[in-house]
Amino acid sequence: MVDFFHAHQAQHYLVLAALLFALGAAGVVLRRNAIIVLMSIELMLNAVNLTFLAFARFPLVANSPMQGGFSQGHAAVFFVIATAAAEAAVGLAIIIAVFRSRTSVNVDEFDSLKL
């Protein structure tokens, strides 16, 4: 138990990342405000970033077969951050388009496509 909390190992970060990912997934499913749903997706992506970084800093395997080694995990995070920004831009634009047609961002009211 002492070892779990004090040693510098991946599992602290992995557990934290898993919790954040689960919180984000729960937020997407449960929250009714479209903006908060968008934020929850960003939380999921950041949980993934934390996982990448944990595996890059505290590798589980002896050596990486890639050029650049485990720092490729850090590189992956930059790509994810950039993509998440583009995703947020498109997502907010879509939310604005929805808001203009019905002056609400409550997901429960998005029902014009039901049978």
Binding site: G24, A25, A47, P59, N63, P65, M66, I94, V98, L113
Partner: protein, 492 residues
């Protein structure tokens, strides 16, 4: 890391499409004061799509080689998928031209977005690195989200785009979490290194978790049950030409990547096969069952697209055994091409019917198809052809495609799955033929179902699709040979 400029030739189709998108965006800036008429955009986009098609076909004979230090690959499988995507884009541009013109909705972004998404699809088929796959996936998806919301009339398009965006991003995040696990297990994001880890049998829990998460992420994209909830709403709410392009292009690219990840990354032992078989059973059953009560043709086609994802999953499952892997991959490519041609044609007819409804922001209903054969016999005949091709009745492309898929499943010892597929596709006849019944046998209720004018370019696209559907159905030899040559990379 060494960068070899010669590798850029390997991604030529994607580069051409991206260049076309940039040309269209720039022309929008510079031509705006001079040229308020934006009809040239459709033809420029179609020209670039055709150039991409030509490039991917010209590269077909090239030997398979890794690009960018193994981050992507240039092989026959990727070239065939790129050709399907470019052909789908070409036909969709022609359909969209008459659709947007008749709605007076031609703005600068539409064709550029379509080209960007197609370039993402081409890259997706080539990517062999999980980060490259993610970025290509987002290039494709972000453009398609925006295309869904393109029509700013009524509540439906923006709402459809919102649903697609939320569930698509959710799926991307799940995929990415799987990629992070794969990186942890193998110390690399390359599929080849992942395969080496799987072979060595180390870090099994992480490997299984990553396989499950990656497969779940792509099950969303290919619309497999139980990840299909977004499909009917998105197909229904998006403009019909966009829906056709999505159904053909996104499906082709997503299935190509799913195969690439499962076979190149987790191929050894094929333990993922059970998962795909279960998904295929569920998807064929639920897709066909839920299509039956649909009154809206677009929603019916959406559920039919789920059912077709099930048949495609049969081909993916057949790749889980080592023996006939190339046959199954060829069947998959043939199916993707035939489904693409059929569904773009079907949605082009829907686009013509829908234009009036889209103006009022309402959904479509079977009743607006009644009596079509009297007013537009050619449209009626084309729609019937596409419907029987989707149902899998000879002499159409859909029949040959289903035949090759089920044959490859039987070769792979998946006989119950093949039998189940045949039974569900017979059940599918009911809802496809109902459209034909409305088109030919139900008398027209309202007098203003279809307006003429600007039908020419959409008519050309529909005729092209119908020609491909018949050609692939009657003389499938050359197409099947092409598909087999593309699938040869999996022949081990």
């Amino acid at each position: 890391m060494n960068f070899n400029p010669g590798d850029l030739y390997g991604v030529l189709p994607a580069l051409l499409l991206a260049a076309g998108a940039l040309v269209l965006l720039t022309s929008e800036v510079f031509l705006r004061p001079v040229e308020p008429d934006r009809r040239y955009q459709a033809w420029v986009a179609a020209a670039f799509a055709f150039a991409g098609l030509w490039a991917s076909l010209a590269q077909l004979g090239d030997p398979a080689q890794p690009l960018f230090a193994g981050a992507a690959v240039s092989d026959g499988f990727a070239h065939i998928v790129a050709a399907v995507v470019c052909a789908a884009l070409f036909l969709s541009c022609i359909v969209a031209f008459s659709y947007l013109e008749s709605l007076r909705a031609t703005r600068g972004e539409f064709y550029a977005l379509a080209l960007f998404s197609a370039s993402g699809m081409c890259l997706l088929a080539q990517a062999t690195d999980l980060v490259v796959i993610f970025i290509s996936l987002e290039v494709m998806s972000l453009a398609v989200y925006a295309l869904c919301a393109y029509l700013r009339r009524g509540k439906r398009p923006a709402e459809a785009a919102f649903k697609y965006f939320i569930l698509g991003s959710f799926a991307s995040a799940i995929f990415l979490y799987g990629a992070a696990f794969a990186f942890g297990a193998s110390g690399s994001t390359r599929l080849a290194d992942l395969a080496a880890t799987v072979r060595s049998g180390s870090a099994t829990t992480l490997v299984y978790a990553s396989a499950a998460l990656l497969a779940a992420g792509f099950a969303f994209k290919v619309a497999a049950v139980p990840f299909h909830m977004w499909v009917p709403d998105v197909y229904d709410g998006a403009p019909a030409p966009v829906t056709g392009f999505m159904a053909a292009g996104v499906k082709a690219a997503a299935f190509a990547t799913l195969v690439r990840i499962l076979v190149s990354g987790y191929g050894e032992g094929g333990r993922w096969r059970g998962l795909i078989v279960a998904l295929a059973y569920l998807t064929m059953l639920v897709g066909n069952l839920l299509a039956v009560p649909q009154r809206s043709v677009k929603r019916m086609l959406a559920y039919s697209s789920i059912a077709h994802a099930g048949y495609l999953l049969v081909a993916v499952a057949a790749m889980g055994t080592s023996a006939p892997r190339a046959d199954a991959a060829g069947a998959l490519l043939f199916y993707l091409a035939s489904y693409g041609a059929t569904v773009i044609g079907a949605f082009a007819v829907v686009a013509i019917i829908e234009r009036k409804l889209a103006l009022s922001g309402l959904g479509d209903d079977l009743s607006s198809w009644a009596g079509l054969s009297e007013k537009h016999p050619a449209l009626a005949a084309a729609m019937s052809l596409f419907m029987i091709s989707l149902a899998g009745v000879p002499p159409t492309a859909g029949f040959m495609a289903k035949l090759t898929v089920f044959r490859s499943a039987i070769e792979a010892d998946l006989v119950p799955l093949a039998i189940f597929g045949v039974i569900t596709s017979v059940a599918g006849l009911y809802y496809y033929l109902r459209v034909v019944v409305y088109v030919y046998m139900v008398p027209e209720a309202k007098a203003d179902a279809v307006q003429g004018g600007r039908l020419l370019s959409a008519g050309l696209a529909i005729a092209g699709c119908a020609l491909i559907v018949l050609w692939m159905g009657v003389l499938p030899g050359s197409f099947a040979a092409l598909a087999q040559s593309g699938a040869a990379v999996f022949g081990r």
